[in-house]
Amino acid sequence: MPFSISIQKDDFDVGNEYASLVMNDTHAGAVVFFVGRVREMNQSRRVSGLSLEYYSGMTERVLEQILESAKQRWDLLSVRIIHRVGRLQLMDQIVFVGVTSKHREQAFQAAEFLMDFLKTQAPFWKKEITEEGEIWVEANQKDKVASERW
């Protein structure tokens, strides 16, 4: 599966995902990937976990559209996008974006592009579990700006 998207409750294994992306590919000179994890402090709140919600049907569709745009802009050999949903704990993996290309600048740009649009377009919503209770995360202006540069 050179291009694939998963939305899943289960964790993923970065080593396995990497191995699948490059397996038997003699042209993939460059592999870039990004992993997003649940971190302890967000906007000065202490986070112990997250609850992640999505819009089944639309989220997959938006991710496919973002992937399609990336394939049109860059010469990509394989792309893997995984986004977890449901309840996550501190340090859990949230998202994986892996890209292979012949050349590193294409792989880097495509991975950043995919993350920027995933963040601003794909219907996922995070609720943080904090000491002060459960708090819906507010959309980040910085992410919006990042997605507008493409």
Binding site: Y55, R61, A122, F124, W125, K126, W136, V137, A139
Partner: protein, 82 residues
Amino acid sequence: MIRIIFFAQLREQLGCAGIEVEAAEAKSIDELKKYLCEINPQWKQFIESKKILVALNHEYVRSNLSLKAGDEVAFFPPVTGG
């Protein structure tokens, strides 16, 4: 019928995950918003917030598209995945 769904904090603010509306009651997105606010006046401040995004049949909509029976319309706050 038109299927209406709400996500994340909007769902919690409205106290409602989704409802069905007769296609005759809402021939467009704008009419649908108006109808929802009429039947639940306390929804008005949330539904009419400039931040709220709207999707019709899994596609973002930014204009007043017309609706028909069988459509699915979603209202939700800005997305925060990744």
